[in-house]
Assembly symmetry: none
Homo-oligomer: 313 residues x 2
C-alpha cells in the first residue's frame, strides 16, 4: 500500500525496535540513509539496528553507527525497490515482513506492507532528511554527514540530471547542520590510488579508436592489473571512462579474467543499444551498459566485436 | 578602494557602455560571470561588451553572448585578482583604468579604482548573481546557465570545501530560473578529448612523489601539449588531478608557458595553505588553490618549490 508523508512519520513515531534493511551491494545512499535514520531513532530513545546482506565496503565504513540488541522488531527498508534487491540472506529472513519501505525509485514493487516512495527525489537521503526533521529530531553533524553522503553519491556530486532545486536546498541545510561535506567528497570522489592512475595511463596508451572515433576499445590485462597493484574493483572506473571520450558513441572494454578468457563491457550513449549489441555474443544488460564473454584469443574477440559493430555505423 | 555591495550595485546601475574584462586563460567562472553580467546589463537597456586577452576555449564557447560596439566606456573586471592576470595586451590597454573589480579572491590586489570582493564566495558567479538580482533584472535561462557554469566549475561541481550553504541555495535558484545544469555538467565534467586522456597518461608517467607521498609534482611541457593536441584549457583537469592522489596533501603542477617560463599551480588539502605557500614566490590565490610563476629553468624551479615545501612537512 502506498502511504503519504505524514503516515510515514507516524509509523516511525509510533513504533520501536527498528530493524533497518539496506539493499545488497550497499552504496552511499542506502547506507547513509539507513545509519542516519538509526541515529535519529536512537536520539528519540528508540532502539534500532541496521541489517545488510553484504560486507560494507571500506570506503563507506565511516557511515557505520552502532545499533541495539533486541529480538523482533518493526522492519523497514531504505532505498530498496524490490525484495530481491535485499540480497539472498536478508530476503529469506525479512523479505516477507517489511512493514515500511522508504524509497525514491518510481519502479518500487511495493513489496512492503506500506511504502512511502518519492520517485522524483534524487536520493533516498533527501526523503529521510525530511522524515527526520518531521520527527522533531535535532539534526547533528553525524546525522547530517550521513545524509549528505547519500545526496552527494547518488547524484555524482550534484552532476546528474536527477538533481532538483530541493536537492541543493537540502545540501545547504545539511552543511548548516554540520555535514562534513568537503571530507565526504574527498573520500567519495577525489581519492585515486597512484596504482589506479598508472592503470588508467596504461589503458589510455592502449586505446584503439574505430569508425572515425565513434567507437573506442580499451584493453585491461591481468598483467596490467598486477603491474599497477590494482584489482577488479578498479576496472569499473576504466569502463566508465570508455564512454566519456569526446565523440565516442560506444566504449568497449576487454578485461582479461584470471583464466585468460575475456569479459567485454560495453557502454553507449543514446541511440546505440548496448544490450542488443551484446546479445549477438550471448550477453545482455541495459540499453546504455551491457556485457558479454569471449573464450577465444583477444585478437579474434576484438575482430568479432568490431565486425559486429559495423552493423551500427 | 574597497566598496560594499550597495555601492557595487549603484556603479552598475548608474553607468553605461560597460567594458567587461575577464582574466587571461579564461575559465568557466570568469566567462560565466562576464557574459551573464553582459546579458543582464543589456536587459537593462545598457551597452556592454566583453574583452579578454586570449581565445575562448572551445568548451566555453557556449557561454559567449554578443556585445555592443562603442568607443570608451566604464571598465570593470570579474574574477581578476591582479591587473597582471588580465594578460599582457588587456593589461596594457585597460589595466590602469579599471573602475570596478568584482571578485572573490581575498588576495585581490585592489588594482581597480573601486573593488567589491567577497573572499568567502566559492565563485565570482555567486557574487554576480546577487548583483544581478539586486539590479532587478529578470534572470532568464540564458543568464542562469552562465552563472550556474561558474558556480559549478569553480567548485569542482560542488565538491570542494569552498562550497557554502549559499552556494547550494544559489544553485537551487539558478536551476529554478532555467539553468541547464545537466547539459553544463556533461560538457564540463563528463566529456574527455582523446588527446586529453593521452596528456593525462603522459603526466601520470612523469609523476614525482616527495615527502613520503604527501607531495606530488606533475610537469606539463609545451611539447606534451603539442604531441597530444591539447591547449591551456586542458591543464586545469590535470591540476585538479594532482590533489586527488591517495595520500597527497599538496599537488604541484609545473606548466611550461609558450615563452619557456613556468606557471606553478598548487592544490592542497586542509591544513596546508596554498596561498601562503605561493606567496613565498610572489604568487597568491586561495587556501586550497593558488599559483605562482618562475622565470628560471624547470629543475631550478622544482628545487626551490620542494625546498620551500620542506617547511610544511
Amino acid at each position: 500500500m502506498i502511504i503519504d508523508f505524514s503516515r510515514a512519520v507516524s509509523l516511525l513515531h509510533d513504533n520501536d525496535n527498528f530493524i533497518i534493511l539496506t539493499h545488497a551491494n550497499p552504496d552511499g545512499d542506502t547506507l547513509g540513509a539507513g545509519f542516519a535514520l538509526l541515529c535519529a531513532l536512537r536520539k528519540l530513545g528508540k532502539k534500532a539496528r541496521l541489517v545488510n546482506n553484504d560486507p560494507i565496503p571500506e570506503k563507506y565504513r565511516f557511515l557505520v553507527s552502532e545499533g541495539d540488541d533486541f529480538e523482533d522488531g518493526f522492519v523497514l527498508s531504505v532505498d530498496v525497490a524490490d525484495a530481491v534487491l535485499l540480497g539472498n540472506d536478508v530476503q529469506s529472513r525479512y523479505g516477507a515482513e517489511v512493514s515500511l519501505a522508504i524509497d525514491h525509485h518510481s519502479t518500487n514493487r511495493l513489496f512492503a506492507k506500506e511504502s512511502y516512495v518519492e520517485g522524483e527525489s534524487a536520493s533516498v537521503c533527501e526523503v529521510v532528511y525530511l522524515l527526520i526533521k518531521a520527527l522533531g529530531v535535532e539534526i547533528d553533524s553525524s546525522i547530517a554527514t550521513r545524509l549528505y553522503t547519500g545526496c552527494s553519491t547518488d547524484t555524482g556530486c550534484f552532476r546528474y540530471t536527477n538533481v532538483t532545486p530541493r536537492t541543493h536546498r537540502i545540501a545547504a541545510e545539511l552543511i548548516e547542520h554540520g555535514a562534513r561535506h568537503g571530507e565526504v567528497n574527498v573520500r567519495m570522489f577525489e581519492t585515486k590510488k597512484p596504482g589506479f592512475l598508472k592503470l588508467q595511463g596504461l589503458c589510455i596508451s592502449s586505446l584503439e579508436m574505430y569508425f572515425a572515433g565513434r567507437v573506442c576499445v580499451i584493453t585491461i590485462t591481468q598483467k596490467m592489473l598486477r603491474d599497477c597493484g590494482c584489482g577488479e574493483e578498479d576496472c569499473d572506473a576504466i569502463v566508465a571512462l570508455s564512454r566519456q571520450i569526446e565523440g565516442v558513441r560506444a566504449g568497449i572494454t576487454f578485461k582479461e579474467k584470471k583464466d585468460g578468457t575475456y569479459k567485454v563491457s560495453v557502454r553507449t550513449h543514446e541511440s546505440l543499444d548496448a544490450a542488443q549489441f551484446c546479445s549477438a555474443f550471448g550477453g545482455g544488460g541495459h540499453a546504455r551498459a551491457a556485457g558479454c564473454q569471449f573464450d577465444c584469443m583477444l585478437d579474434e574477440a576484438k575482430r568479432r566485436v568490431i565486425h559486429e559493430m559495423e552493423k551500427y555505423f
